[in-house]
Symmetry: D2
Subunit: 335 residues, 4 copies
């Protein structure tokens, strides 16, 4: 961390601040010029509150050099984290596909889709039981019953299940859930993150629509700081001015997250684009960019879907995509 002092700062004040930092266990390197005095802080600065230092009368500006996240940081954990879910390995060069309907609707629907995506090669089943909908008048999900139906589909197919939690009060319903998803709108629901950090269960954390990559990693850090290091990052589109796609899939976030962190990185092309025919090119591009997997919406009857049918693939479209996914993942493994 570099602290740039105001020209008006007096020597006495500078000395006092320097001493304060030293008492926090930091080493201080002072560089005094004619117009500017800089303080370089060396040591563990993750606990320093930038805002607080910046608000001091004698401080012009503070610039962080070190990343503010530690557990999620690849610097301190160079090898890829690999998370095992059932027989699927997420991270470390394995490409996994999570597939299923936006919402769980009926036993028939979820089992039919589960069978289909399994047959096509998906390794995890997704399905929404608790649904974050913009409108209070829209279908809010089957909730507890939805999770029961997912469990049933899991029993029938053997596929591990992924579903979203919206409130920690519902945690007891998630016993049979293999991966708990935190949606984009809750990425900075810090109380929820802290509680999930105490579990021993993988968390699929979606990037908030306007979250920077650093904030995204800080939210992962919230979970990890409590002890749960099984976090899967999922880019699902950011909010920009462009309206042709629902959000703008930030494909460069894939290599950036892989560089900064050891955690697995997936993308969600269905929600990012909101357009079914875009799922294929964005999935293939994600493989090329180095992603560890994708999460794809599949519905047996999209127009009848109770939510987001517009972006779902039909099972036969998904099957055709999976053939390409397998070949493409294979190709890039050996490139």
């Amino acid at each position: 961390m570099i602290v740039i002092m105001k020209q008006s700062a007096e020597q006495e004040q500078i000395d006092k601040l320097k001493k304060e930092f030293e008492e926090m266990g930091l080493q201080i390197h002072l560089s005094q010029g004619v117009n500017t005095t800089l303080m370089g802080l060396v040591g563990d600065t993750t606990k320093i509150d930038i805002g607080k230092v910046a608000s001091m009368d004698i401080v012009e500006e503070v610039k962080r050099i070190q990343e503010p996240y530690k557990k999620a940081n690849r610097k301190f954990h160079p090898q890829d984290t690999v998370i095992e879910v059932g027989s699927a390995k997420i991270g470390g060069g394995n490409f996994q596909v999570i597939a299923g309907p936006c919402s769980v609707e009926t036993p028939q629907q979820i089992c039919q889709v589960a069978q289909a995506v399994k047959a096509s090669g998906a390794s995890l089943l997704r399905g929404g039981a608790f649904k974050p909908r913009t409108s209070p008048y829209a279908f809010q999900g089957l909730r507890g019953e939805g999770i029961s139906l997912l469990s049933q589909a899991k029993k029938e197919t053997g596929l591990p299940i992924v579903t979203e939690i919206m409130s920690y009060e519902d945690i007891d319903l998630f016993d049979d859930v293999d991966v708990i998803q935190v949606g984009a709108r809750n990425m900075q629901n810090f109380e929820l993150l802290k509680q999930l950090g105490k579990l021993d269960k993988p968390i699929l954390l979606k990037r908030g629509m306007s979250a920077t990559i650093e904030e995204f990693l800080m939210s992962a850090e919230y979970i990890m700081a409590q002890g749960n290091e099984k976090v899967i990052l999922c880019e699902r589109g950011i909010r920009t001015f462009e309206t042709k796609t629902r959000n703008t899939l930030d494909m460069s976030a894939v290599p950036m997250l892989k560089k900064l962190s050891h955690l697995p990185v997936m993308i969600d092309p269905s929600h990012a684009t909101g357009i079914p025919w875009m799922v294929e090119p964005m999935t293939l591009a994600a493989i090329a960019a180095g992603a560890d997997g994708v999460m794809i919406e599949v519905h047996n009857d999209p127009p009848k879907a109770l939510c987001d049918g517009a972006q779902s693939l039909r099972p036969e479209q998904f099957d055709s995509l999976m053939k390409k996914v397998q070949k493409t993942a294979e190709f890039f493994k050996t490139l």
Copy 2:
């Protein structure tokens, strides 16, 4: 709502869809051209799932005309909502100032600030007990103890208190709180909104950093749909590419929200800009733009603040601002 059919849609399919809509109690106006068939849906379309209709094979596009919010909509409630908190009236042409520190820290601090802001003319006291911090390593607030300190300051000054809730599990601690704040990061924490909708207590709802005005109103609708119609909207800056200010204060949201909704609209210039000297011009501009109030951070010793000191005013700066606020509010009342 207008449904634009694909050119490939067959008459039989169009008739079937028309019938389905009619069974939902809607009136359908069909307009068939050489290349395009349009269906105009008249009636209560708030419950129709746009995504679902858009995903139908025969549908090219769906365009909503009616706003998807009802209780928050000025069309159905033309007069301003006025929310009374203690002796303060929020909305309806009254300009109110909520002031206080970012975080409650010590009994001395909160009482000192409370006395000061009261003396300067603030009508409500704010103070953070539960703090949503980007970093898990930053100060997270005094939590329950913080609320106790706020209560004490309320007793001493008579100022009603405003503080943020982060999880509904803590609701019992909010008995003495007069206005419950929902922070920007929880604006789409729908489970929390639903629960707050069952209370009989004003909710100050902050706009999410990347929330559209429509989404903001839909979140108010979540609270109101459960019965609690005492919602105060608060614009606090949106996320854009500009980095000179922490966020970009969307001043035009003030008249827009006032036009679309009957709810009171406040702004938070401290969080929007992150810069103390910007609080004054943005506060005066908010009055000119028609806002019902502002929320301002005041700290007795900003550099020692445990959070966001950088953007806080000192009591004497706040006092000087309040003198201008009163004159300006008076001026615009008679303009």
Copy 3:
């Protein structure tokens, strides 16, 4: 400027770089820690290419401290620049209103509007002759003839005229123009800026839709670096995700630009919002925020306007607004 060296940088390389900087006339303050070596560069660093330094093998990151603009910088020119156009003074606490139609259309239209806005108190007349339209099929302006019509209106009313240039090839047509406007889409048309920098005529420079405040000032610097220091900055809305308004008026840019630069700052509420009833609240807010003026579209018959009629005020609306503008400007002068 601070140069942060990579941990892998060798002493010899650091010394070599230090020497290079010193040869550019800079003073170097070296701060060497266990993990990080910082170089503080003191002197005129505006000419250093950050990208180039950042690309060096031994450099981790470069951070600029000094602003990269000089002539536009208030630090080197503390007093407000006041630009005189006819009898109007722009800047320095004078509030000026530029008004007129989006496009010049007919002699009747422009003279009628000119008479009207003059009577209401506008001090400059605007009117588009060269029109930057998104579509090649939309009305492109009367071009040279439009400027002749403006000249005529100037003769009749005595109002100085403001009109946009789109290509320097047309400069001969601008002899009688008092203020040359550079539109948002040309804010980084650097060749045009350079050429306008050689004139002795005020330039009204609009902020690009996605230009940062720093880039905006750098574009002013382009003009000023060639000798023409009469630049008026105009905020006209930035592009964000919000769709209720055409763009998002960045009101906080007003005090920020006034702080960073001595140049006059105006806002254009008509283009920023695209909504006629928003012009009034945004104009009053701009006065409160400290702007030096506004630019407002007025058309005698908005629905018949050949361009952007949707956002124009009618003369009687403008007149009513001007009464409030005068009182409000007066009020804030003495606040």
Copy 4:
């Protein structure tokens, strides 16, 4: 186009408007409900000014259905446009790589880079002669001399050359240039686009930093409307809130542009990300997403580059990338 009338619209007014549209050669389908009257306009609506219609007193809102571009529209030109430059075919399933330095600097530099990129398999040489730099104090390019050096490199290697134009006044210098580039900052420099539209030479048009896909296609339409249909679209990153990458590469723009238009689509991973190690994953992802090519910065000595060295690949890095590009392009051709 659909025109939604206000409830207050009187029959007489509606009839008058209907008649006006009919006189423009449009067919009108009227749909009158209890609360809403809709007018569906069928025919060529590209020339209707939406703003003008929207500003009418009786009109609530106007929604366009038809795209406002014709010549660039795939609907009217279903097969891919293939542009031949020397022996390279751009578009139609051919993947082409344009490579070279950000700026042309010396004869040695440009020839060395040209030889290197040719040997690695690039099919066109790029190099900046006129440089759009944010700062007036930064290196502005060798201008005419830069183009001469490019010509020399073309003679030595046989590679066609691509370079940017900043002002049409310089057009005579571009005789030997094979593809004229329009930079992001000039994407809406409509006067320049019109003039380039009269040439018989391919134009590589870069997307503006805050341009929507529709605006991007409208700028292509500007060129095409004048007769020059050889336009190559180039996505180079859009401006968002994310700061880890210079801009955010909108990868989904590739399939979207290919769907909406028949023009070739390239990406520029160097400028989009600003980070050399990101060029490879983004290039491979672009191939997977269906792009027709990429434009990559290569410099023989990045730290010595006079501009943007930070993002350039060294020739050996480029060579290694090209081996992967060829295999990947081959792979996707047969997938």
